[in-house]
Symmetry: C2
């Protein structure tokens, strides 16, 4: 099952001629979820070959314009494209109110429903669940109420060992029962423990999106063992005064969170426009967390299946 | 004195990978005015080397998202950039209300004032005036209340003929009086008519922005003699059924308006995403109005001074 994150924008609020504000797409088994929606996100989706109609839900971290001003044009365009499926928007309050105002003035005749689910920015809890996925909120520390999101893949269904099927002569019904996790009673009367017959095809994977935030060891605890971590690094280590004043993180702080979380891989973004070369930022991260990468626009980070 | 129009976006509502929705900048003697503000306009300004802080005012034609969703991020960015001068936004109602809601949620601590002046979409009248310029509203025919805008340069100050200054031995005070349009009484007692001493350095110029609109001969009357006309051509001539149904114009209709208005030059834009080659659209216009041009993004159309 595919699990990947495609970067649509990696800059902070001040616009530059080429970079776009925060947006990413999480793709779990061809189910697409938008993480933040900076200005221009609909065009960025199209440029990356992602049909906006495929989006299942949008997750907004906080109500600063560079994280959500692209949502409103996207909502209109989905209407033009004839969407019928409801679009769920997860976001801190008062996004419900903001969307209601928006709909009153701009999208009065949408052919689909926009459902807003307001997310608490002070609680760490599961906010969405389906067959393959749980999404958890991660309280963050920023100038306005902000939440990160943790995407936790559910344990994939058990596989039944082919050799064991042959050895015990299992019927289809017995295989299905074994996949459900049951022990199997053979015709001989012998009971075979489920663990003898099955194996987990790969470990459930996870992705954490932490932006925008000041340094937060508590957030690190809540994403322990995460496979892929996106953490904002608005500032270089030398500009930590700025980071502190503006509720942002430095490179070293992001890397520390990755170490504490025992993350496998770190991607960084939300760069201040003052840095012309993000390479120098990622080099700082690598001094304490070697597996650090720049969230380059258009790049897709795949979380591979692992036994 | 420079008078030019730079195209920032020329597409209609459906996003494409490269084109941007409606936006232009009028530059009259280094005073910059934004015409509509489609999504991404702040980035388009920066790409074209235009500092957003230089904008004096914004003119919004109507409250469809592809003409105004870029205004809100621009307002935030001007705050980040430390603007102090008020920004005036001319737009149909209820833009005042919409901006008030926006400010409540997003730009609560702007260092400058956003003044909204709501423009009637049923009256042709002067809505702005300064030393060099008048701006007039042009009622248009669209699905929602819409106004075009006519930029009329004021008559430039009179020049005094150098040879006449010499011939009559005019003093500085007499030259200044002549520039004000006064007749001059010489020391000899002789009175020289102002028209004998002065000339108009060039004819006052004008620019009309008509978008979005169905075919409107009345609009053509109101911009009679315009030097440069931007008229939307969402559809090709063969798709006139679509144009009619959606309150838009075809190429031939735009060209007819240019003919009726006795315009000197026509630029066309707001192309439907169905047309991959706008060249075919401008060719249609040229069959009845030869001086027709595509509003190519990034192109600047200069209105030259003419005697």
């Amino acid at each position: 099952m595919g699990f990947s994150v495609t970067i649509l924008g990696n800059s902070s609020a001040k616009p530059t001629p080429t970079a776009h504000p925060s947006s990413q797409v999480v793709n779990l088994n061809e189910q697409y979820y938008l993480m933040d929606a900076g200005e221009g996100v609909q065009q960025q989706l199209i440029r990356r070959g992602i049909n906006p109609l495929r989006l299942r839900a949008v997750f907004i971290s906080h109500l600063h314009g560079d994280h959500c001003f692209g949502l409103f044009p996207l909502i209109s365009t989905l209407g033009l494209m004839g969407r019928r499926t409801p679009l769920v928007v997860y976001a801190p309050a008062p996004m419900g109110e903001i969307l209601a105002h928006h709909m009153r003035y701009f999208d009065t005749d949408l052919p689909y429903e926009v459902k807003c689910i307001e997310v608490s920015t002070t609680e760490h809890k599961m906010i969405m669940e389906n067959n393959t996925l749980e999404v958890w909120s991660i309280p963050l520390r920023h100038r306005v109420p902000t939440t990160g999101y943790l995407f936790r893949e559910k344990q994939p269904p058990l596989n039944v060992d082919k050799w064991k099927i042959e050895r015990y002569g299992l019927s289809i019904a017995q295989i299905v029962a074994a996949k459900r996790g049951e022990d199997i009673c053979l015709d001989s009367g012998e009971t075979i423990a489920n663990s003898e017959l099955t194996y987990i095809p790969y470990k459930a994977r996870s992705y954490a999106y932490l932006s925008d935030t000041a340094y937060s060891p508590r957030a690190a605890e809540r994403i322990k063992g995460v496979d892929l971590l996106y953490h904002e690094t608005t500032y270089a280590n030398g500009d930590s005064m700025w980071a502190r004043g503006r509720g942002h993180s430095t490179t070293i702080e992001a890397a520390k969170v990755a170490v504490m979380a025992e993350a496998e891989r770190l991607i960084i973004g939300h760069f201040s426009s003052r840095y012309k070369q993000p390479e120098s930022l990622v080099e700082e991260c690598r001094t304490i967390f070697p597996n650090s990468h720049i969230a380059t626009e258009g790049e897709t980070f795949t979380i591979e299946e692992k036994r």
